[in-house]
């Protein structure tokens, strides 16, 4: 009888421990959960971008963001207001299979399409606190394309990750991310510069779920070293609209 009880207890303990191991998350799984929060094949957003300088001056801009998944992930941002930046556009083409990411910037004042490559990708996007590399993440790209993650700590509602940069074009030394387990969305990201000093804090808030896709409607990027801030607000969001792939071309950037 005692032998039977011992065997049953050992088997139970083994099963429970396996179950616990199966539930234990790693950084890669957290990033996959983040990617799974959005299942749409395309989206169209109307956004507002508020730029705050270190002295507190504010400039406001409006833009439209389009994204189309596929063999090549395509993203287009086009400014609509104010008049001095209207029709300035940014095109991103990410060919994951061939490890090729192409970025193009169109300036109406020059009427020319300029390729953004190499170290230019770490430059500020039209005077904001976002770099061109940051844009590729916040326009819907997957974190796992550019980062590896390791769990630093895990609480009931929040997981803290250490991000290792895997894309050599990105100028940060490393990052940290705090992920909400209820939404599987990041609520805060910190980026550190090459001297390993805190450079930027990205705060995501106003979480929402539309057609099964979760997103943060407010993204604040604070450059701690410069004292400036950029706030992105998603005013209108439409998931899975019918988008013509021809709009994701340099030809369309220049078209009036």
């Amino acid at each position: 009888m005692l032998k039977k009880i011992t065997v049953i207890l050992l088997i139970s303990f083994f099963v429970i421990s396996q179950f616990s191991l199966a539930q234990k998350l790693d950084g890669e799984q957290v990033l996959k959960n983040l990617e799974a929060s959005r299942q749409s094949k395309s989206h169209q957003m109307e956004m507002e971008m508020d730029l705050y300088s270190s002295s507190g001056d504010m400039r406001s801009r409006r833009l439209n963001n389009y994204r189309l998944e596929g063999e090549i992930e395509r993203s287009l941002m086009r400014f609509t207001e104010p008049a001095d930046i209207k029709d300035t556009a940014f095109l991103l083409l990410d060919d994951q299979a061939n490890n090729q990411e192409d970025m193009y910037l169109y300036l109406l004042a020059l009427d020319s399409v300029r390729k953004i490559s190499g170290s230019q990708k770490n430059g500020d996007f039209v005077g904001s606190d976002l770099t061109y590399n940051d844009l590729s993440i916040f326009s819907g790209a997957n974190f796992s394309d550019n980062y590896q993650a390791e769990i630093i700590s895990e609480a009931e509602k929040i997981i803290e990750l250490q991000l290792t940069i895997t894309d050599s074009d990105i100028d940060y030394s490393y990052g940290k991310m705090w992920v909400r387990k209820d939404f599987w969305l990041a609520e805060k990201i910190e980026y550190y510069d090459q001297q390993e000093k805190l450079l930027k804090i990205v705060t995501l808030s106003d979480f929402d779920e539309i057609d099964g896709n979760r997103l943060a409607r407010r993204i604040e990027v604070e450059n701690v070293q410069k004292g400036s801030r950029t706030i992105l607000k998603m005013l209108k969001v439409d998931f899975n609209p019918e988008l013509d792939s021809n709009i994701f071309t340099t030809r369309y950037l220049q078209r009036q």
């Binding site: 008049a83 020059l110 020319s112 071309t249 340099t250 030809r251 220049q254 078209r255």
Partner: protein, 204 residues
């Protein structure tokens, strides 16, 4: 180099198209299909050699009217009021310029642009060796306003995303002569964009 008669024919053709543009503007004006914007700037400059102050107010207006999804026209004009102050003397000049005026027509594979326009070849900003056509005003206060538009025709052929073939025929900005050029662009080749161009005519 084309003969003088052919140059005049091209000039007449452009003038006729400009007239059509004005007439269609007058008779088909619809605010819903039009967009316009303007910019007002003022500047105060001291000219050291002339020992005088220059006060310049500059109003730039641009207007675009979409006649259909594939056909539109664009106008940009500028009003400049310049005042010069030297000792007790004051002079004023008023000037209006039609800076750009052209028609856009888009087909399935080709984008056409006809009229007074800037031809943007090359991606560099101030020093652009590929700027065959547009003279640059080195004294312009705003560098984005430094290029001067010229009359001409541009056709850009896009067989697919990665290739672009552009042909340009223009009137030289300073002498009575035609210029022409062809540019071939190959995008996203091993992470690079490549371009080659051939130019015929007198450079600026």
């Amino acid at each position: 180099m084309l003969k003088l008669k052919q140059q005049k024919n091209i000039t007449v053709t452009i003038s006729i198209l400009a007239l059509i543009l004005i007439l269609s503007f007058l008779f088909t004006f619809k605010l819903a299909a039009a967009s316009y914007s303007g910019e007002l700037s003022t500047s105060l400059i001291y000219e050291q050699e002339a020992e005088r102050w220059q006060d310049q107010s500059y109003l730039e207006l641009d207007y675009q009217h979409d006649l259909s999804i594939d056909f539109n026209y664009y106008l940009k004009g500028a009003l400049a009021l310049e005042s010069y102050y030297q000792q007790n003397q004051k002079e004023r000049e008023f000037d209006f310029k039609l800076k750009e005026a052209y028609l856009n027509y888009y087909t399935d594979k080709i984008d056409w642009r006809l009229g007074k326009q800037n031809f943007s070849w090359g991606s560099s900003f101030k020093i652009n060796p590929l700027n065959y056509f547009n003279p640059v005003d080195q004294g312009a206060i705003d560098p984005f306003q430094s290029r001067q538009a010229v009359a001409g025709i541009r056709a850009a052929y896009y067989p697919n995303f990665n290739w672009q073939l552009t042909g340009v025929l223009t009137q030289h900005a300073e002498i009575d002569e035609l210029q022409s050029a062809v540019q071939l662009i190959r995008r996203r080749w091993q992470g690079y964009d490549l371009a080659a161009s051939v130019f015929s005519g007198n450079s600026l």
